[in-house]
Amino acid sequence: MTKMTNYTATTNACKLCSPLGASIAFRGIEGCVPFLHGSQGCATYMRRYIISHYNEPIDIASSSLGEKNAIYGGGPNLKLGLKNVTAKYCPQLIGVATTCLTETIGDNVPMLLAEYNREFSTEDSPELVHVSTPSYSGTHMEGFTAAVAAVVEQLAAGSETTNSLNMFSGFVSPADIRYLKEVCRKFKQQATIIPDYSDTLDGPALDDYPLIPEGGTPVESIKKMGGAVASLELGWSLPEKTGGRFLADRFNVALHRTGLPMGIRATDAFLDLLEKLSNNPIPPEYRAERGRLVDSMVDGHKYLFGKRAVIYGEEELVIGMTSFLVETGIHPVLCASGGKSGKFKAGIEEITKGFDCPPPIVRDGVDFYDIEALAKDIGVDIVIGNSKGYALARRENLPLIRVGFPIHDRIGGQRILHLGYRGAQALFDLIANTIIDRKQSDSPVGYSYM
C-alpha cells in the first residue's frame, strides 16, 4: 500500500470554503443576490474564482466589515448592505451567507435579519434567507447543500398539493442542469429544479449589464415545494439535513435519493425513478442515446481496458465518475477528495461492486500534495478531475481530462455535460480519444490509422 505522510498543514487544497458553495447555490435562485456577511475580501476572492470558471459576471455583495465592526459587531453594516443591495439591485431575494469572521465574533444573523425586517420591510422588500457557512467547517459542498436547504426551509410554506416534482440537482454544471430540465420536460413532469444556474451562470451576450441575470429557480415555485408529489435528491454523499429531508419531515413530501446520473447504471436508475414518479415511460430519445453509448463503448473498449486512472475532486463527482469509469473497463487506482462527508469510501465500494478490477485506494480529506504522493509509483495512465490537478499531471507527464469545478485553464467549463447517457457519451469519446492520442503520439511509426 502506498504510504502518505500525514502533514499538519494543507498544501494545495482539493477543496474550497463553504461560503463559495453557498454563493453559487444562491446564484441559482431567481432574482437572488448572494451576500456574504464578512470582510470585503471574501466576496471579491470568490467572485474572481467563480468568474474564472464560468466566464460570467457574478456580483456577490459584502457587508465589508472593518476593524470596528469586528469588535462591536457587524449588525449595522449588514443592515446597511442589505439596504444598498435592495436599492441598487431590486432583488426578490437576498441570500446571506456568513463567513468565518462573523461566525467567530458571534453575530446573530437570524436575529439581525428579523430586526431589519421589522425596521425596514415594506411590501416590495426582498425575502431574506440566511445560511450559516463558517469557512472553518466543511467545504464548498457543505456550503452549497446548506444554502439550498436554507432557501427551502425559510421559503417553503404549507401549500396545496401540486403535480410538481422537487429536484435537487446538486453541484453540477449549467449544462447538467439544462439536461435535468430537459429530462423533466420529456417525461412531461412538471418540476422545480433547485438550484438552477443554467442561465444565470451561462447566459447570452447582452446589450445591457443585467442587474441580476435572468433565470434561476422561481421564488414562487420554491414556496410551493411543500405541496409537491415528491422530492428527488441527486447525490451519493449528502448530509442528513437537506432541503428534501426538511420537506419530508415538515410537509410529508416523499423523499427519493439517487446518485448523480453519471454513466450507464446511475442514469438507468435515475430514469427508472423518473418513470415511476412521472407515470410516463422513458422517452425513446433516451433509449436511443443509451443504445449509441453502449455501441461506442464496444467500439472503444480495447483502448480503455485496464487503463489506470486517478480521479479527484468533490466526493460526489468522484463517485459518479468512478461509477462510469469502471463500466468502461478503466481501472480507477486512486479516488481522492478534499471533502470529508464520511460517505466516500462506502460510496466507491458500492459503485465498484461486482466489477472485476482491483479496489482503488480511496482517500477523503486529502490535498494535492497527498494525491501526488499517493499517485506516485502506482502506475497511472490518466488523470481525471478539475484544473487544479494540472501541476500533478504535468509533472508526471499524464493526460488530464477536465471535469467538474473549477476549470480555470480552458474555456467552456460551464458547458461540460457530465450527466445522462449523453454526458457519458461526451466523456467516453474524450477519454478514449485522449488515450488513442497518447498511443499515437508515443509511437515512432506515425500511424494515421488507429
Binding site: 502533514y7 499538519t8 498543514a9 494543507t10 498544501t11 494545495n12 487544497a13 477543496k15 474550497l16 470554503c17 463559495l20 451576500f35 464578512g38 470582510s39 470585503q40 475580501g41 471574501c42 466576496a43 471579491t44 476572492y45 470568490m46 474572481r48 468568474i51 474564472s52 466566464n55 460570467e56 459576471p57 456577490i60 455583495a61 457587508s63 465589508s64 466589515l65 472593518g66 476593524e67 465592526n69 469586528a70 446597511l80 442589505l82 444598498n84 443591495v85 436599492a87 441598487k88 439591485y89 463567513t99 468565518c100 469572521l101 467567530t104 463558517p134 469557512s135 472553518y136 467547517s137 467545504t139 447566459g203 451576450a205 447582452l206 446589450d207 445591457d208 449589464y209 487544479k388 501541476a391
Partner: protein, 453 residues
Amino acid sequence: MSTIPPLKTRSAQIHRKGEGAFALDCNKDSLAGAVSQRACVFCGSRVVLYPIADALHLVHGPIGCAVYTWDIRGALSSGPELHRLSFSTDLQEIDVIFGGEKKLAKALDELIDLHKPKAAFVYSTCIVGIIGDDLEAVCRKMSREKGIPVLPVQSEGFKGNKRAGYQAACTAMARLVGTGDTANISSYSINILGDFNLAGEIWLIRDYFRRIGIECVANITGDGRVADIQRSHGAALNVVQCSGATSDLAKIMEERYGIPSIRVSYFGIEDMAEALYSVARHFGDPKLIKKARQVVKEELEDLLPELTGYRKSLSGKKAAIYVGGAFKAFSLVKAFRLLDMKVVMVGSQTGTREDYLELEEITDDGTIIVDDSNPLELSSFLKEKDVDLFVGGVKERPIAYKLGVAFCDHNHERKEMLAGFSGMLNFAREVYSSVMSPVWQFVPRRAEENNHD
C-alpha cells in the same frame, strides 16, 4: 434599460472632468452592499510577498484565503518555485475554539523541514485576529528552532483595505533588510521595488539597467530571493514602481539607511524611457546618461515602425481603464495617447487624492474619474461612453465581455509581458487583437447598430 444612477453615498467618489471643480472622495472603507471590486488586507500582503520564490508562504486561517490565492499570478521565478505552492493551516472549528498556535507551530516545523525555505512568511487572516493567536511569539520560537527568519504578516482581512496589506507586507520585509552582507556592491546600484515579474518583465527591466551599467541588488519582489532582500540596504538607490505597494519599504529604508528613492513606471514608451533616464540622472555620471539614451534608441528603432501600424487602426477608439492602483492608470492614459485612442473613463480601487488630481490633469474633458467602483457603475460607464476597449483585471473582464466590449487584462494574472519597450508593442498587439476581432459585429450592442444602418 436605462442606466441606473449610482447610490447616493457613492456619488462623491465619481467625478466628470470639466463638470465643476475637482472633488473626489477616496481612501475610505468600501460601502457595504456596493459590490466593491476591492479585496482585503490579506490580499494586499499576499500580492506583494507572493513572488519571493524561495520563501515559504503559510496562510494561517481557514482554507479559503490560501486556496483562492494558489498560483493565481503570473509572477515568474528563474529558480525555486516554492511560492507557487499554497500552504494553509486549514483551521477547523476545534482550532477556533482552542486556538491555532500549536497547529501553526507544528505546520511550520514540518513544512520548513520538508521544503527548506530561506525564510517563512506567516499570514494572519480575519479569524486569527479574532481568536488572538500570538503569531509573533510562534514565529520567534520557530525562527530560533529552525535558524531561518520566520516573519509574521499582520494581514487580518478586516483591518482596512489592500493598502493596509501592502504596509503589513513591507513591515515584514523590513525585518529581512539589513541582515545580509553588502560587500562588493557597486556604487551605481539599485533595488527594483514594485515590479512582480509578471510574464518575466523584471528580467527585461534588469537587462536595460545592466546595459546602462547599473547593478540590481534586489528584486522586490518579482523573481525575489530572501538573501537579496537581506542585503538590499547595500544599494545606492531604490527605484519604486506601482502605487504604493512597496513605497512603505522604501520609506523605511530611507529612514534607516538613508537610501533615497525615486518613483517610476515601466509601462509605455515615455514612462519606460523616463525611468531609465531618471535613474541615470540620479547617479549624475554622463556616461550612464549616454548609455541610457543608447538603450532607448536601440529599443525604439525596431519598435516605432510596427507601432505605427497599430496606431493607424486604433486611432479614435475609446478606452476605459479600471485598475487596482492609480499609478498604473497614469501610464495607461499615456500609452493610449500613443496609440491615438481616447481615454473616456479611468478609475482605481485604491487611489489617493494626489493620484486622482494627477489623473484629472492628464485626461481630457468629459472623462469619468472614479474611485472604488463596482460592476453596475462600471457597466453604466461603458454604455454611456460607448467604449471600444476596457482595461482591467479578471473581475472586470466579464463586465466587458457580457456587454460586447473588447478587453485587455492588465492585472497580476496576465501571461503577456506589457512592461518595457517591447511590452508596449505587446500591449498594442493585445489591444488590437481584441478591438479588431470580428466577433463584435455579432454582439447585441453592435448587431443592433448594424441593423439600423
